[in-house]
């Protein structure tokens, strides 16, 4: 488990990074926290010629709130995301989600950019990006562009990032008032990748759900939004019968794989259980009264 030979360059600006990434004579990849890339190298599942270390780019480390948008630099470490007061105030669902990412030692190094670009189907932050309608800013390639989270994740470990591109930041539009949230995850052990995870955002006005978002992870090639179930919730109250119907809809819309840790059926079962829990939490958090 030793990596193959590679060159290593530590850059200090986005331009430097994208210049090396754009040079097609050598295969270069970005290294951020290294928590997913290094295992890939050690297992010899990847053999890039150059590692471009972006941890010295100060511009990628900011986390700011401006004009109803929170923008998170790609080099923001999980530990800083999890302890950020801005995040805790506006997106407590992220604060909770981060506690489920691995253990502290890994959270100290892993970054939001690395997690999104690695795009593990069971990872928490890609699911958060979908849930919170994130916009991802990339530099390099044919020029800077913005990608909506729903277009970013293409399949397991595959994203819309093109050769020569670098993820620079992630923007999250603030949520309206009367928003509640829920997050639940089941993993075999604390810190393991999710067998199944569900998160939800509900906005409740006058006892009725005006906006509903549900995202799931660990049960498909990419994290997914559950559009059908969301539509069922909009304009409704939440009661037992309706909750059951929503959960069943979600269960019928996913087709999880069977692997070593869990069968497809068990994962589907879990999604049902967790959906009910997060919707109740989100509904109550938004001031709704569950009947």
């Amino acid at each position: 488990m030793k990596p193959p030979i590679f060159d290593y360059v530590k850059v200090s600006t986005v331009e430097e990074a994208t210049a090396i990434l754009a040079d097609s004579s050598k295969e270069a990849v970005v290294i951020a926290g290294g928590q997913s890339l290094l295992p890939m190298l050690n297992f010899r599942l990847a053999a890039p010629e150059i590692l471009v270390d972006i941890s010295g780019i100060e511009a990628l480390k900011s986390l700011i709130e401006r004009d109803n948008v929170v923008t998170i630099g790609a080099m923001t470490r999980h530990v800083d995301l999890g302890s950020s007061p801005i995040i805790a105030r506006h997106f407590p669902v992220i604060t909770k989600a981060v506690t489920h990412i691995a253990h502290l030692a890994i959270r100290n190094r892993g970054t939001i950019g690395g997690s999104l670009c690695h795009a593990d189907p069971a990872a928490e932050l890609p699911m958060m990006a979908l849930l919170l309608n994130a916009e991802l800013m990339v530099a390099g390639g044919k020029g800077p562009r913005t990608i909506a989270a729903k277009d970013f994740f293409q399949s397991a470990l595959e994203t819309d990032i093109q050769e020569g591109e670098l993820l620079v930041s992630v923007s999250l539009p603030l949520l309206p008032p009367n928003t509640g949230w829920g997050f639940e995850e089941v993993s075999r052990k604390s810190g393991d990748f999710a067998l199944a995870a569900v998160s939800a955002i509900l906005v409740v006005n006058d006892g009725e759900i005006s906006e509903a978002r549900i995202a799931v992870a660990g049960v498909d090639e990419t994290p997914r939004r559950m559009n059908g179930a969301e539509a069922m919730l909009r304009g409704k109250m939440l009661d037992d019968d309706h909750l059951t119907a929503v959960c069943e809809t979600i269960q019928s819309e996913i087709n999880p794989e069977t692997d070593l840790q869990a069968s497809s059926n068990y994962r589907r079962h879990l999604i049902g259980v967790l959906t009910a829990r997060v919707l109740k939490d989100a509904f109550a958090g938004a001031g709704g009264i569950f009947e």
Binding site: M1, R188, S190, D192, L260, Q261, S263, Y266
Partner: protein, 791 residues
Amino acid sequence: MDINTRPKIIGARVQRREDPRLLTGNGAFVDDRQVPGMLHLAFRRSDFGHAKILKIDTEEAASMPGIIGIYTAETLNEITKPVIAFSNMKDYQATPIRALAQDVVRYVGEPVVVVVAENRYLAEDALNEIFIDYEPLENVVDPEYAASGDAVLVHEDLKSNILVAREFERGEVDEAMSSAAIRVKGRFRSRRKTAVAMETRSYLAEFEKSSQSLTLHSSTQIPGIIRDALVDILDIPGHRLRVVAPDVGGGFGGKASLYPEEIVVTALSKLLKRSVKWTSDRMEDLMSTSQAFDEIIDAELGLDSEGNLLALSADVLGDVGAYSIYPWTAALEPIQVVSFMPGPYRLANYRGKVRGVATNKPPTGPYRGVGRPASTFVMERLMDMAAGKLGMDPAELRLKNFVVGDEFPYRIGSGIVWDKSEFSECLNKATEKLDYETLREKQRIARSQGRLMGIGIASYAELTGIGSRISAAPGMPINTGTETARIRVDSSGSVIAYFGVASHGQSLETTLAQVVAEEMGVKVEDVEVVLGDSAVMAHSTGTYASRSAVLAGGAGTLAARAVREKIVEAASLLFEVPAEEIDVYDGLIHVSGTNRKMDLRELARAVYSEMGRFTKEVRENLDLEATKLYDPYFGTTTSASHIAVVDIDPETFKVKIEQYVVSEDCGRMINPLVVDGQVHGGVAQGIGAALYEEVIHDENGQVVTASLVDYLVPSSCEVPTIDVLHADTRSPSTIGGFRGMGEGGTIGAPAAIANAVADALAPFGIEINEIPISPERLYRLIEKARNSEKD
């Protein structure tokens, strides 16, 4: 000070002397050792479960940068003899172990080719350019199929895949069983597990050019056995091969066998006259370190209507993997499963049947608890199933059947004899600690609220500190029953205690120093302990089978007493008083009732260095050194009761251990801190066996749990607070009254947790017959039960 009021060192909570260096990163493990010019190895391992090797092409790889040489069976097996794990058991079939796979590969991960290079990176680069042609053979993966006679032979030249078989009966089992008012039975499955020591296996053979001799630094539990085996394999005089086990980061049995890589490292060092190192990576560790616990057990227990045990029968099929491991043999685990099945209970009729069957999987070997985790799981499940049928509380059923008082020594159906141990007291203490009655009441309330709360008890007894009368592995002709200690006060007055045993986390440097200090009358910090070096003892084996506190502690006691006598003799001559008036305490030698005293340094100087202090006749017979061997002959009994309280999420089926109590009798404690630490670690591993850990091979013999993403080891988050209670009754059978206790935690925990989970699921009528109890397995059991309820 009055002798009786002096603070005792044995039994004191002495801080581990290992901790400062280990906790500050200053330990010296094999891989820390750097020798100028040393070479590094990488192994190309079989990716087939079972195949003939047709052709190996290493030409391309050999020409790569930094490559010193590439070796296969053809070149390396020429210079190494096969090793055979002998056994005098009837019908045992041995399987020779070679340095590298010869002609046939028998498990995925078996070493086939070794690359020698300037560093490990270059060695691994070359692995990819080695081309091997295989002719696949039938993979024998399922143990029942392997045993059936329809399967291909894992070893062509053997009669069958059954490497070992035994059957015995005591009493009239059929008769007693058919008269039993209550009968419970089941087919139980304990899944394959591996040790996952934090330090992976690592070997460094240092070649000493001046003397043409080799020192193998090995992360082994058994430096003595390794040395003796390598002397034969390499045909090298023993004085030119020394095996040292430095700091070793956990063993759990996984480092208690001889490995092909150990042979290869040493053979290449001898051949190339260079120092050679290999350190396993985690992937190699998960596919090549010995595995364990892989058993299918059909068992039945019969009781009368009052709950008295009448008869037990057990039929064990152990999947022992591809080779009979050295030195323990394939008999080690399966035989112990049947041997320990009757547990701490009064039971007249027992029939045991066992087969160990070869399959295309890594060899199994010792693992903390050897056989007893599985036998305890089965017996204790049966006890709970019986309690359920009788409508009796599980604690009461156990108390009713424990061997007690003057029934000791008690011979169980397999022939093992329990010396006196506090079976009942241990359980009573545990139930008191938990306030068992109240706990059951809480459970009734929890159930009425739809919660799945369960309470599980496991009681067991085991043999520890085994002496020369019995082999640590059934039928194995190697003596594992003696240990030697040599203690010396040198000319500077320092006390150095040499032991043949090795330490890999048991705190033996601390506990053996305590024993020696107390027996000699010196301070703990004045005793230096030397362990794990084949050069310091004429013979030794190592640390395994919960033996070292008993055997090395016993030998250390005898040697310390002998040196103390010599100190007293010398002092009585120097002070010119009778020996009875000399007292040695805290490193000072006093004339009792006076203020005359000297310290060890002064005494040593007088004995060794100062002229004219003694007559010639006295001096010729006076040294401050003694070597003593200890043989506990039979060994002793250790026992415990564990109680686990679990809560199962009724929707996700996650099991949470809410409370855990261990109440154990390990005899006289040398150091309660160390005892508790051993219990904690053992229980953590038992939790792994109960809920998480499982080595999985697919139908082609491919290991699918090749990283710690898939092979799940409990972390501190999965291990609850564990209360440990002690009976602290001296063993009647050992010097010092010590009983071995390093393995016990792992023996009790799988059973206690399985019983707790079954108890929690009692409303569904679900029994737990298989470990680990993964949420997937629970999901299926519960779904099945819910569906059949609906029907």
